[in-house]
Symmetry: C2
Subunit: 100 residues, 2 copies
């Protein structure tokens, strides 16, 4: 469960994908491929990116919706909260209520 989350975050390419989805929501696979190649000089095959997206989706960090032949990808950063909840710091609130 949390296993998938940390595994997904372990790869630098996947983290870059999260960055891209944070910047522009609802991108397709090809769009992500293009941006990785252009902006980040990452020459990775389309299938490589597809597999990364599958891992991110398994972790709950990416959600997808199909429309016709397009598949749009959206970032969901919510699962990340369980990290700071598991190991709280003096300043980070542990479980519940960030701003009452």
């Amino acid at each position: 469960m949390a296993d998938d989350l940390f595994k997904a975050l372990a790869d630098p390419t996947r983290r870059t994908i999260l960055d891209e989805l944070a910047e522009k929501s609802g991108q397709t696979l090809f769009e992500i491929c293009a941006r990785l190649s252009m902006k980040h000089r990452l020459d990775i095959s389309r299938q490589g990116v597809s597999q990364h997206l599958a891992v991110l989706e398994a972790a709950g960090l990416v959600e997808t919706r199909r429309e016709g032949r397009y598949k749009f990808h959206d970032l969901n950063a919510a699962p990340l909260r369980q990290i700071t909840e598991r190991w709280p710091t003096p300043d980070t609130p542990g479980p519940e209520e960030p701003t009452p």
Copy 2:
């Protein structure tokens, strides 16, 4: 840099070590070994644990202090904040001031 952080979190045994240090601060290598074995049924060699601690220390998640022949390990969860700062959610504050 952030690379080390995510790599450190990627391993389940390392996350368990963080849990243990969160529960009891200032443990020695042998103490951690014992607790992993007893509480978590993890039979891992002492050297294995030592290598894990090195990775955690490289990530800034564990800080150490030497006293005589003992080396005490302390958890430092602060680096984890850069995760939720990098991909903020509606409820998690992004950069700066958690509770002024």
